[in-house]
């Protein structure tokens, strides 16, 4: 498969990049690691006439810590993130999430912001040109049918990023840049909730991810279900972040479900049920059952929608249990 022709830009600064993007408008795409965009272009699913590489812009990669905030540059590779000791020690869910992405040679190229801003996927959309030519174009391809749900009135493609559920659970923030201004927003602000265009960015791009030091007694975990451990995208995933008080009761909880719709899903009911409980008081079965409410699962990934729906409580339970175990383990080793 050949890449279609495009013009390649390699600006040296963010302002220069922003100018090129403004000049070319929708015909322009930002190129980070390329592990998602280039396959989409090979499949004819993205047809930018201009690519703006961020590789030569200084200061966009690397991980640093300042005033209790960990700053992860947008162009930091997943390998660098996985190897970072501060992340491993403090932000277990993020460490586990990044370790679960694809395989080492992909992680050597893929970037943190690229992983966050990935498009939603569907078995009937992420196919070659030849495959898709045999069928009418679906909503995501600009048509007016859903190939996954006959008679479906909207697109059901699934956001399958691993990092986003973990980052949202950990209270991560992103810095967004556009011409002349930059702003900070919580990670969840990235998502539109619309499968046609899951990432709610138009003229902005992510320059960094910020993680504030978590309160003492906070523990997190990430678990996912996939057919093979390498290469595959998650078919269901869950991130849990629990803060235990001095009395051993959970004071704050966030549980996120991934690959269950066009954006990571906040399992608010589950989180509320965990509040005020000590580990031994938690009915894990009941708590995790509540996690799947609001999930949108149809037959558009390699495992059926009904099976994936049943797996949400299983994966959520694993994540919550792992976070509790980490809390108990660290308490014991103190």
């Amino acid at each position: 498969m050949r890449l279609p022709f495009f013009e390649y830009h390699e600006p040296a600064s963010i302002d220069q990049a922003v100018r090129i993007i403004l000049e070319h408008g929708g015909a322009c795409r930002v190129l980070a690691g390329g592990t998602e965009l280039l396959p989409l272009m090979k499949f004819g699913l993205a047809r930018p006439s201009n690519l703006v590489s961020l590789a030569k812009i200084g200061g966009l990669s690397g991980i640093s810590s300042k005033d209790g905030t960990l700053r992860i540059g947008a162009m930091t590779t997943l390998t660098e993130l996985a190897a970072n000791e501060a992340v491993r020690q403090q932000f277990t869910a993020l460490h586990e999430a990044v370790e679960s992405v694809a395989a080492p040679p992909i992680r050597n190229g893929a970037t943190v912001a690229g992983n966050l801003c990935q498009n939603s996927r569907c078995l009937f959309y992420n196919q070659s040109d030849i495959w898709r030519k045999e069928r009418p174009p679906c909503f995501k391809a600009g048509g007016d049918v859903c190939l996954a749900v006959p008679g479906g009135k909207k697109c059901f493609s699934v956001y399958q990023g691993d990092l986003a559920p973990a980052l949202i659970a950990l209270g991560g923030r992103i810095t967004l840049r556009k011409e002349g201004s930059s702003r900070s927003a919580p990670c969840e602000a990235l998502f539109s909730g619309q499968a046609l265009k899951p990432i709610a960015l138009d003229d902005e791009f992510v320059t960094e991810i910020l993680l504030d030091t978590l309160p003492a007694g906070t523990h997190s975990a990430y678990r996912r279900l996939s057919v093979r451990s390498a290469i595959d995208y998650p078919l269901v995933s869950a991130a849990a972040c629990l803060s235990f008080g001095r009395d051993g009761k959970i004071e704050a909880a966030r549980v996120l479900i991934g690959a269950a719709g066009p954006a990571p899903l906040q399992a608010r009911e589950t989180a509320d049920m965990l509040l005020g409980k000590k580990p031994h008081e938690i009915d894990l079965r009941e708590v995790s059952q509540a996690a799947g409410r609001g999930a949108q699962m149809v037959d558009n990934l390699v495992l059926s929608g009904s099976y994936r729906r049943k797996m949400i409580p299983v994966v959520a339970r694993r994540a919550i249990e792992a976070a509790i175990q980490e809390a108990l383990g660290k308490e014991r080793s103190r």
Binding site: F5, Y8, G34, T35, L38, A103, P105, I106, N108
Partner: protein
């Protein structure tokens, strides 16, 4: 549309090379079609299978997902570049000795991925070996002999000290 090619300089297997490339060409295409290094294989071409793996500044990467224009100044190692003075690299020899090659199509990617692992960690555990090659598909061997071959080189490194 401006279709000018760009000149890029890169080091391939220790040798300085200069090629003129269109921006839409991948490193894999340039290696095979311009530099005639056919050891790097092409299969899925979308990053899933790992046969096109080469080392970029010592790290295994998918050459089908790298734009050649981005390789300016990079050190590329392909399977052709790891034998020293006519003698096979220990990992290549181990693959032969352990019967870890059947059709051979995944072998260049496997060996380069293994080399990157052993360069970083001369004595990896079996788990680490399996994780390292988890992105390289082999449809013949069932992986056991590949893991054995890489393990035998690791054991050699241990015995050699």
């Amino acid at each position: 549309m401006n279709r000018t090619k760009q000149y890029i300089r890169l080091r391939v297997n220790g040798e300085e090379r200069e090629v003129a490339v269109s921006p839409n060409r991948t490193l894999l295409e340039v290696l095979r079609e311009d530099l005639l290094l056919f050891g790097t294989k092409e299969a899925c071409d979308d990053g899933a299978c790992g046969v096109c793996t080469v080392l970029v500044d010592g790290k295994p990467m998918r050459s089908c997902l790298l734009l050649a224009v981005r390789m300016e100044g990079k050190e590329i190692t392909t399977i052709e570049g790891i034998a020293q003075a006519g003698a096979l690299h220990p990992i290549q020899q181990a693959f032969i000795d352990q019967g870890a090659i059947q059709c051979g199509f995944c072998t260049p990617g496997m060996i380069l991925t293994a080399k990157a692992l052993l360069d970083e960690k001369p004595e990896p555990s079996t788990y680490e070996i399996r994780r390292a090659i988890s992105g390289n598909l082999c449809r013949c061997t069932g992986y056991n002999k590949i893991v054995d071959a890489i393990g035998s080189v690791a054991a050699l490194a241990k015995g050699g000290r």
